[in-house]
């Protein structure tokens, strides 16, 4: 019982600090007027034509991002999960790379690639075809949709690929034997079975697009339109209209909660138990003459997401003028010296980012480990509620969370604005669900029997934790640490509202530099960020690849 009390006090406190206070203030401010409660802010927000436009833009963006992500993610998943397409490992690796690429970096790189006039691809196009019109214009709604989608489709890919990997070929062959042709099998058996995964991937992609700040800020603003997130951000400009920002945040919050609910339904209804037949084999489908065309199609997608953007970032980092060819006199290390030695904010930002990353990841990993252990082993009364709370921040988009935190922590009793702590809270809240899901999966895979077996033999609870649970959970928790860390170092949408000049982080510096057109320095910082990310990913892979339960065969 006393154990329950301690856990509950801890969980309740975290909940209050991380969620209840920010969201409570958010809700309250959105209805508070000079003379008590009012709906005036909502009226202001929803009658303002510009704001309504932003809302509509977000709907359009999110919907299309969902569709394009499905169009890209599903075929890629099928090709790598089911066919004999060459280079499956490579494609999976590239999808992973696109998954961890900060979308705002991608958007920024695509400005250099497909700006309608100077964009490298357009220059090339014009010099090859002699056309006067650009091939692509990134500063448009379709451009924005494309950019967001190439970094969002991995959500669909993951859902679909994992589902396909679970469907035994028998199920399809059973239909084939009954006389169904290939297409019929795909339509009547395979598709219905992956449909929940598709729908759920679609919803995840939509959610990403709803919450994204960086890419719209980089691509939509120059094109002269707003989305909800950029609009909320600009409501903070002086004189700040925090109440309106709060009121404008609420629909985003509700939409997210609603969509997640729908996703749960979709996944829940057709039980995955039916899909999880473990005996069945999965046979690969020969593509025949289509093997290489299919590979090229995949690589073309990945070129958009990885090769081209990374290439242009690398080029800009070493070039005096990024739009010009990399000739000898255009080559320079000046961007590096400027970024690291002349621009004072960079070093502080890198230090802040690493500090926050490590701190959040450590605190977060410990928290998710404790929470998921407690819920998995049902150590306290109401453990289901603990699990629910740990996952709850999923419904709060970064910008909305930031508005809430800003309101809650710029006033007594807790004035955290201006310190790294407010960013820490934002990151911890935002990354908690990801970390929790990972830790939960880890403990789920460690049956309680393994611990009980040691207890009866005479080992105490703590000793078992140290000698049995910890070694088995280690890699999973390291992975949780890494996921949180990656999430933190790329975070922009909450940071952009919460930083102060003395608490800048890398993403914010990049964004600042973008507003000033300092392409070289951005590219350098972007490369640093990618380097950090990939080093961490390598760590996860090492952690999960070795000495994980069941791989020692």
């Amino acid at each position: 019982m006393d154990r329950s009390v301690a856990v509950w006090v801890f969980a309740a406190l975290s909940l209050v600090v991380l969620m209840a206070l920010p969201l409570g203030w958010l809700g309250w401010l959105s209805v508070s007027g000079e003379h008590g409660a009012t709906l005036a802010h909502y009226r202001d927000v929803f009658t303002d034509l510009a704001l309504r436009k932003a809302l509509w833009n977000t709907v359009v963006l999110a919907f299309w991002v969902g569709l394009v992500s499905v169009a890209l993610g599903a075929p890629l998943a099928w090709l790598t999960a089911r066919t004999d397409i060459p280079g499956r490992g490579l494609i999976r690796g590239l999808v992973l790379a696109s998954f961890v690429t900060p979308p705002f970096l991608g958007a920024f790189a695509w400005v250099m690639l497909a700006g309608p006039n100077a964009g490298i691809l357009n220059t090339l196009w014009r010099s090859v075809t002699g056309s006067r019109e650009p091939l692509l214009n990134i500063f448009t709604m379709p451009g924005l949709i494309f950019i967001v989608a190439i970094y969002t489709f991995p959500y669909v890919y993951i859902m679909v690929a994992n589902t396909l990997a679970l469907i035994a070929s028998d199920l399809e062959e059973a239909a084939a034997i009954l006389g169904a042709g290939r297409l019929t099998v795909a339509r009547t058996v395979t598709l219905p079975m992956v449909l929940p995964a598709l729908a759920s991937g679609f919803i995840l992609a939509v959610l990403q697009a709803l919450a994204l700040f960086g890419s719209p800020a980089i691509l939509a603003l120059p094109a002269g339109f707003h989305t909800v997130t950029t609009q909320i951000w600009s409501l903070f400009q002086f004189p700040p209209k925090v109440e309106q920002a709060a009121a404008f945040s609420i629909p985003l919050l509700l939409a997210t909660a609603l969509l997640l609910q729908v996703q749960k339904r979709v996944l829940g209804r057709r039980g995955y138990a039916a899909v999880g037949g473990k005996g069945g084999q999965r046979r690969t489908i020969p593509l025949g003459a289509w093997r290489f065309p299919a590979l090229f199609a995949c690589l073309a997608v990945m070129a958009c997401a990885i090769f081209l953007p990374y290439g242009v970032l690398a080029k800009a980092a070493f070039a005096r003028a990024w739009a010009q060819p990399l000739s000898r006199d255009n080559l320079t290390l000046g961007n590096f010296t400027f970024t690291f030695f002349e621009y004072g904010a960079t070093r502080d930002a890198i230090v802040n980012t690493l500090e926050l990353g490590v701190m959040t990841a450590c605190v977060g990993a410990v928290m998710v480990a404790v929470l998921s252990y407690v819920t998995n082993r049902r150590l306290v009364v109401g453990h289901q509620l603990v699990a629910f709370l740990a996952l709850a921040p999923v419904v709060v988009p970064g910008v909305v969370l930031a508005v809430g935190l800003f309101i809650a922590y710029t006033r007594p009793p807790f004035v955290l604005y201006g310190t790294l702590w407010i960013l820490f809270l934002a990151y911890l809240t935002k990354e908690m669900p990801v970390g929790y899901a990972q830790a939960d999966a880890t403990f789920r895979a460690i049956p309680a029997d393994l611990e009980d077996a040691g207890r009866v033999l005479g080992a105490g609870r703590l000793r078992i934790l140290k000698e049995v649970t910890a070694p088995l959970a280690k890699s999973g928790i390291i992975a949780a640490w890494c996921f949180i860390f990656i999430g933190v170092i790329r975070e922009l949408s909450a940071s952009i509202l919460l930083f102060t000049p003395s608490t800048k982080v890398m993403s914010v510096v990049i964004f600042d530099l973008k507003e000033e057109g300092q392409f070289g320095a951005i590219s350098v910082l972007g490369l640093v960020m990618l380097g950090l990310t990939f080093a961490t990913v390598a760590l996860v892979q090492a952690a999960l690849g070795r000495d994980v339960l069941g791989t020692r065969k």
């Binding site: 393994l450 009980d452 077996a453 207890r455 009866v456 033999l457 005479g458 020692r552 065969k553």
Partner: protein, 360 residues
């Protein structure tokens, strides 16, 4: 070697009374099987004994130590027990030798050499000599099972607890391991609680069986007792196959079912009371219709169905002038065809009144 006594134990999960006033005694050195259908509270009972769960009512005694009561529970690590799990619960990050040696760390006064010697000896006993350095993932199911057994026995526990240890094995291996466990029990003589839902397994392995229903002991006794003298309809039906017929006592030793009168094994029935009888199929004697005339418990009937099972034939017989359909197991000869008229006789000793009503 102490025994275990469970005194009216109760444990609830929300609305479900998983264990509900359960009392049981395991004698020193005895192997007692806890037998019952899925969800009847076997695992819960075992985990109560192991100390993973605290009872809401009742006590658990081992020898003269009270290990569990609602007021205090001795934690599992201080109960001097060992347990074998359905999943084996072998630690995947430790070798076979490390797994087996683990419990010895908590035995005071054992040198490293002693421990290694004991592990080696134990592995030899379970026929796993030479597998010390393997990881559990590198063993077959049966070998993993043996490691689990070795790990539990090597600490020489006062009490050994097993929760369906064989249910993950295929049929042949299961058969083999039954005898293996029985052999080890005879070698080491631990007081043992063995959970299973397989009555054949319980009968082969145990000294006594406790049949559980809905968190209570329905009946405890030797396999012979339970088979021949079931006290409740539930036990009668759960242990082996049986015919149960409902009737009314018309005399202290006679039960009526419609027109039929059956003499029964006892003579202490309350005339007028409702009584259920259990009659094992192989205790029905079949013969030519004429042969059955006269005498106690002799009836006529018609063969409704017959299935040849090799060493016996399984008949379904409709009793004449009655709604009664009985199953009978008889020798392959003489054979009766479907539709044939037969005479049947039941020894009064084979008609066991199920005096007690089942716990609801």
């Amino acid at each position: 070697m102490p025994g275990v006594i469970l005194k009216s134990l109760s444990k609830r999960y929300g609305d479900v009374g998983a264990v509900d006033g359960l009392s049981l005694e395991v004698k020193p050195g005895e192997l007692l099987a806890l037998l019952g259908p899925s969800g009847c509270g076997k695992t819960t009972t075992l985990r109560l004994v192991a100390g993973f769960l605290a009872p809401e009512a009742g006590e658990i005694w081992v020898g003269d130590r009270c290990l569990s009561s609602p007021a205090s529970v001795v934690p599992p690590e201080r109960r001097r027990m060992a347990m074998i799990f359905q999943s084996y619960a072998l630690w995947p990050h430790m070798t076979v030798a490390q797994n087996v040696a683990y419990g010895l760390r908590f035995k005071p006064g054992l040198s490293r050499g002693d421990r290694e010697a004991r592990v080696r000896e134990m592995l030899r006993v379970v026929q796993l000599a030479g597998y010390e350095r393997r990881y559990p993932g590198e063993l077959s199911g049966g070998q993993q099972q043996r490691v689990a057994v070795a790990r539990a026995l090597v600490v020489e526990p006062e009490i050994l607890l097993l929760d369906e240890p064989l249910s993950n094995l295929d049929a042949n291996l299961r058969e083999e391991m039954r005898f293996e466990i029985r052999r080890l029990h005879e070698t080491f003589g631990n007081t043992t609680l063995y959970v299973t839902h397989d009555q054949g397994e319980a009968m082969v392995i145990s000294d006594r069986i406790a049949v559980l229903k809905a968190g209570k002991v329905a009946q405890a006794g030797t396999a012979d007792d339970l088979y021949h003298r079931p006290r409740t309809r539930f036990v009668a039906e759960f242990i082996g196959r049986t015919n149960v017929l409902d009737g009314v006592a018309v005399a202290r030793d006679t039960v009526a079912h419609g027109h039929l009168r059956l003499r029964v094994a006892t003579a202490d029935l309350e005339p007028g009371a409702r009584v259920a009888l259990s009659i094992r199929p192989h205790q029905l004697r079949l013969g030519e219709p004429g042969a059955a005339a006269g005498g106690a418990n002799a009836f006529r009937g018609t063969v409704r169905r017959a299935a040849f099972l090799g060493d016996s034939v399984d008949y379904e017989i409709a009793v004449a002038d009655s709604d009664l359909v009985l199953r009978a197991a008889a020798a392959p000869t003489p054979r009766f065809e479907v539709g044939a008229a037969v005479g049947l006789r039941i020894e009064p000793a084979a008609c066991v009144p199920l005096a007690e009503s089942d716990p609801r």
